[in-house]
């Protein structure tokens, strides 16, 4: 599982553990058969239900906007009022889905959360930004995307792993969500490798280092 997604599941479970009225924690994934493992892990961590939208590796892959549209449909079906997502994928690092989903639903959004406090229907989210933290306040329903310092995800315990096997896992396909316009809009223009690293130099002592840094214009 994408570590940001792990943080999201963990946060949802912790909200429930803080005795907040969390009715149901639904986890969603879209991908090949193997993606089911991720849902089982999520349910072993404490989610109640999994929805697997099956997309074969050979089919065209969803783009962030496609995922957002799909999630919007799921959110409407499930009548969710809080969606927690990882801040970005770890393959293409797109970091778009959460924001797009908020836009499509017309909900508030708080991205890169490092702390989430829910009081009634008011949610306070702290996020780390350059040079400090930013605090946002919004009302449910809303979208939160998670960042690394939000929490420390638990390891699923063996008894919970076994229980997760009995939790409901709904299998769907894209055909179950009619009217989604999922056509590919992005085109990979070019992929280039970063330039090879150049070897460094060794300096004799501190003075040597300082003069080298000066020489390179770093001081």
């Amino acid at each position: 599982m994408n570590p940001f997604d792990e943080l999201s599941i963990e946060e949802a479970v912790r909200l429930r553990e803080r005795k907040l009225p969390v009715e149901e924690i639904v986890t969603v994934t879209a991908g090949p058969a193997k993606s089911q493992d991720i849902l089982r892990t999520a349910m072993a961590m404490g989610a109640d239900k999994g929805i697997h939208v099956q997309i074969d590796d050979k089919e065209p892959q969803l783009e962030p906007l496609g995922v957002a549209k799909l999630l919007k449909a799921v959110v409407e079906q499930q009548k969710s009022n809080l969606v927690i997502l990882g801040k970005q994928a770890i393959d293409d690092d797109a970091a778009q889905t959460g924001q797009m989903l908020a836009g499509l639903l017309g909900w508030s959004q708080a991205t890169q959360a490092s702390k989430v406090v829910v009081e009634g229907d008011v949610v306070t989210v702290t996020k780390e930004v350059d040079g400090g933290v930013e605090t946002l306040k919004a009302k449910l329903p809303m979208i939160i995307t998670t960042d690394l310092r939000l929490n420390e995800p638990r390891y699923a315990s063996l008894p919970n792993i076994m229980k997760a096997k009995k939790k409901p896992l709904e299998k769907k396909t894209l055909k179950d969500f009619e009217g989604l316009d999922l056509k590919q809009r992005l085109k990979t223009v070019k992929v280039t490798e970063p330039p090879p690293r150049e070897g460094g130099v060794k300096v004799e002592d501190v003075d040597g280092m300082i003069s080298k840094l000066k020489e390179l214009g770093a001081l």
Binding site: P3, Y155, S157, L158, M162, V191
Partner: protein, 435 residues
């Protein structure tokens, strides 16, 4: 970016970010380290267990085990991590907080632990908690079971297994430690040896003599099984740690009882049923040991293979030399064969719990064969791994010397190679008994 390219990129970046760090949970590594064992044929549950245990073990890198081996200190954090995730109860009933799985799953758990680099030390630190608790859960009284099992599962209690004596190893029926009933107590006197984890355990599953052999129709009826509190501060109990070749993180002891008092409620089942109860679990233990041996073997072989790929001599990787490659390939085949024998035995053991058509003799032959084959395959693999590393194989830093020292354990315990051969000679081939 195509997914395969992206994955390769992440792998490369992860390595750049932390070149010498073992993969930690949030290192963004999406690909597990290279595993050589073929996983086809395992059940979904076994694979789930393997993955979940692997995740926990990955928090305990080689350096952890090197340090604990060198300083001979108990890997208590490791035991605690497995306990808090519920793994010690893998084969204990769900009603007592366990997961109700079988020996097939417990075996792959033990293999995975050993294979993670934790080796026999890691496996032995929890072995008795997984295995010696089986007879207790099955034959103990309701109070006894409810008082101890949940605490063993959650790690509050640790347990050790007290059967072997200096003058009674494989000839268990001759053991001399006595437990005499005295009012509400039993009074224990005698000596046990090679008791793993006695220093850190608060309970011992003890086999002791409750009547002289001559006073009962069969010598096996003179022994009884107990789950006793092990309190080092109480009078009549002394532990002496044994210095040993491998698995040094985990203590092994001589245990001396001198009129050591335990409550009469410590008895498991009925007096005189001890041997029968113990026999029940022996095939299970052989399976677990076989799994642990396999883990060591695969760990060593996979390390040797990666060294042989990376180490260049005369301008090419040493693995290109057939003198290196062939022995490693042979080790792989032996391990795979032993793996099949091991999980076959475990499957038979589990099935025999409900299927009466599977005879205990068949289970015994399968379990002993598996233990033998796995131990030999592991020994070959560990030895070859040291040799493939050349001088580096002798250095602690490369781990293979530690695994090599440890891989003697499954060859010797819980039953020697020679006794397994005797058993098969007698029971399968119908040859006369030699001892």
């Amino acid at each position: 970016m195509p997914p395969t390219l992206a994955r390769a990129a992440i792998r490369t970046l992860t390595r750049l970010r932390c070149p010498h760090q073992p993969s930690s949970r949030h290192a963004f590594s999406t690909s597990p380290s290279r595993r050589i064992m073929e996983l086809t044929g395992f059940t979904e549950t076994q694979l789930t267990v393997r993955e979940a245990v692997s995740a926990i073990c990955s928090q305990f890198p080689s350096s952890y085990w090197q340090e604990h081996d060198a300083s001979e200190t108990d890997p208590k954090e490791f035991h605690a991590a497995l306990a808090s995730s519920g793994f010690l109860g893998i084969a204990l009933p769900e009603s007592l907080g366990g997961s109700g799985l079988g020996i097939s799953e417990a075996t792959i758990m033990m293999q995975t632990i050993a294979e993670s680099g934790a080796g026999m030390a890691g496996a032995q630190s929890i072995h008795a908690n997984v295995y010696a608790t089986q007879p207790l859960a099955r034959f103990g009284s309701k109070e006894q079971v409810e008082e101890t099992i949940p605490k063993i599962i959650d790690g509050t209690y640790r347990t050790c297994f007290g059967v072997t004596e200096p003058d009674a190893g494989l000839d268990t029926l001759r053991l001399r430690t006595t437990a005499k009933r005295d009012g509400d107590d039993y009074v224990i006197s005698g000596q046990k040896i090679w008791i793993t984890c006695a220093q850190v355990a608060s309970r011992m599953i003890l086999l002791a003599r409750t009547s002289p052999a001559s006073s009962v129709p069969k010598p096996s009826q003179a022994l009884s099984l107990f789950c006793i509190p092990l309190s080092k501060s109480s009078p009549g109990l002394e532990l002496r740690r044994i210095k040993k070749m491998g698995g040094r993180a985990v203590d092994a002891n001589e245990v001396f009882f001198d009129n050591y008092r335990v409550p009469a409620s410590s008895l498991i089942g009925k007096e005189g049923h001890g041997f029968k109860i113990i026999l029940h679990g022996m095939n299970a233990e052989r399976c677990l040991l076989a799994g642990e041996a396999l883990g060591l073997g695969y760990a060593a072989l996979s390390r040797a293979a990666s060294y042989a790929r990376e180490r260049n001599v005369f301008g090419r990787p040493i693995g290109q030399n057939q003198g290196i490659a062939h022995p490693l390939a042979e080790c792989y085949m032996h391990l795979e064969a032993a793996k099949l024998a091991t999980y076959h035995a475990a499957r038979l053991y589990d099935a025999s719990q409900t299927d009466e058509s599977i005879k205990q003799d068949a289970v015994g032959i399968a379990a002993n064969s598996a233990k033998f084959l796995a131990a030999e395959a592991a020994f070959k693999a560990c030895e070859r791994a040291v040799l493939a590393h050349g001088g580096m194989g002798y250095a602690v830093e490369y781990d293979v010397e530690r695994w090599f020292r440890e891989c003697l354990v499954p060859r010797i315990a819980p039953v020697s190679r020679e006794m397994v051969l005797n058993f098969v000679g007698e029971r399968v081939l119908g040859l006369p008994r030699s001892y």
